[in-house]
Amino acid sequence: MNYLYYPGCSLTGSAREYDLAIRSVMAAAGATLTEIEDWTCCGASAAAPVSHLLALSLGARNLALAEKMTAEGEILVPCSACYLNLKRAHTALNQHAEDRTRINAALSAVDLSASGRGRVRHLLDVLATDLGSDDLAGHMPRSLAGLVVAPYYGCQCLRPFVEFDDPERPVSMTALIQATGADVFAWEMGARCCGASLVSTRPSVGLKRVTAILRAARGADLIVTVCPMCQMNLDAWQARASRAAGEDLSISVLYLPQLLGLAMGLSKEALGLNLNLAVMEPFLEKIAM
């Protein structure tokens, strides 16, 4: 299986461990990633309010680069905000002739053009649908039995583009977690918002979302995520949420491919586990690392 890889900005900085784990796990599972050459920012949530056309063009620039490499490639996107923006550009190119013309008029300023061929895929979709829990289980010599894992999906890999899972009651992580031997924590917060950039722009409101999720995860050994924004809100702001709420909300938070990689027998270094901001002793003891 071959994928054109769009890491997105966070994965070169605060989410480096996500990038490391994805590359290690995909290689161990026999999938080939080719990074999109000269990729640039998708515009995050900042471009669209300022200019709709700017947001579409920033997304489409990366689709244009991907098309130059492989005409109808599968574009693998691990960040849910990047995924949303690339999907929006892809949909505009394919479904709105007027948008397509305007986007390409903008892209001509950087000598590129995009047609919207190929497919934009979220990492979770690729893990659950293409690789699949059965095949992945075959690459997992180690059992993580005894661990209880809370699957956290967040929003934008599920909504508004409904592609591979139920947008309100997602289940795509269940079989993947079970393949490792671990148990799935039953909770209602898997598809509830983490607060996204509100944690930075309006901390008093954003932290309430973080607190609700961390509190509901009590009883699990760890939370797994599939987005650098969700991960940052749940791990980097954990101490602050605990202080504001006046209770201990600490819990380990890993990226899903880090968990899968542990069962695949990959090293702590290969999975970037030393880079995580919230990995607690009880969890490390349980996995004996």
Binding site: P49, S51, V110, R159
Partner: protein, 195 residues
């Protein structure tokens, strides 16, 4: 007191948002679905009513659209299938274009983010935060981010981008888009005048 006059481009932007929510039946599903509704001064349902009535000043005085965290739950559940998250996004756009004082902090956050993208093509998180803080001129906001910055630095996670990834300035793309957006705005304004 007479309402401040609205610029023609604002009227066009508001008309666009009105067309997005015109079919609202005021059922309240959006409000019931919104994770941030309890912090909003106008509920999402109430906001759509104001939009349809064209009460721009009342809308701009509200924090509601700023508190939208793009979770898309309302968009998913609205029985009329209205693009509500996008409507909130476009209200943010009007407020930022007006340089509303009440929305200064999120506006600077977004604008400095885009400025970093224009200059470098990608976001270098610490460079972006530095720009944001210096634009904000607030002594307290950076302090609240300091523990996070230290944590990331301790993990060697900052400034990775510098010198390692090729810088791809996107100024030509940003300029072209601004030019096209201006042309569209002038056309709408002309249509309004001749209407």
């Amino acid at each position: 007191m007479s309402a401040p006059s609205t610029a023609p481009s604002e009227n066009a932007a508001l008309a666009n948002i009105q067309s997005m929510v015109r079919a609202c039946i005021q059922c309240g599903t959006c409000t019931g679905s919104c994770p941030n509704a309890d912090q909003m001064d106008l509920s999402p349902r109430h906001m759509w009513r104001r939009v349809i009535l064209g009460q721009l000043e009342r809308i701009m005085a509200s924090q509601t659209f700023i508190l939208c965290s793009d979770c898309y739950t309302c968009t998913l559940r609205c029985p009329r299938g209205l693009p509500l998250t996008e409507a909130m996004e476009r209200l943010k756009g009007i407020a930022f274009a007006r340089q509303e004082a009440a929305h200064r902090q999120p506006r600077l956050f977004y604008l400095q983010f885009l400025e970093t993208v224009r200059r470098h093509g990608r976001i270098h998180e610490m460079d972006f935060m530095r720009r944001y803080f210096s634009a904000l001129k607030s002594p307290t906001v950076p302090l609240s981010f300091a523990p996070l910055g230290l944590k990331l630095m301790g993990k060697g996670k900052v400034e990775l981008g510098f010198g390692k990834t090729a810088d791809t300035p996107l100024t030509p793309l940003f300029d072209r888009v601004a030019q096209m957006d201006r042309a569209t705005m002038q056309n709408t304004t002309r249509e309004e005048h001749s209407a």
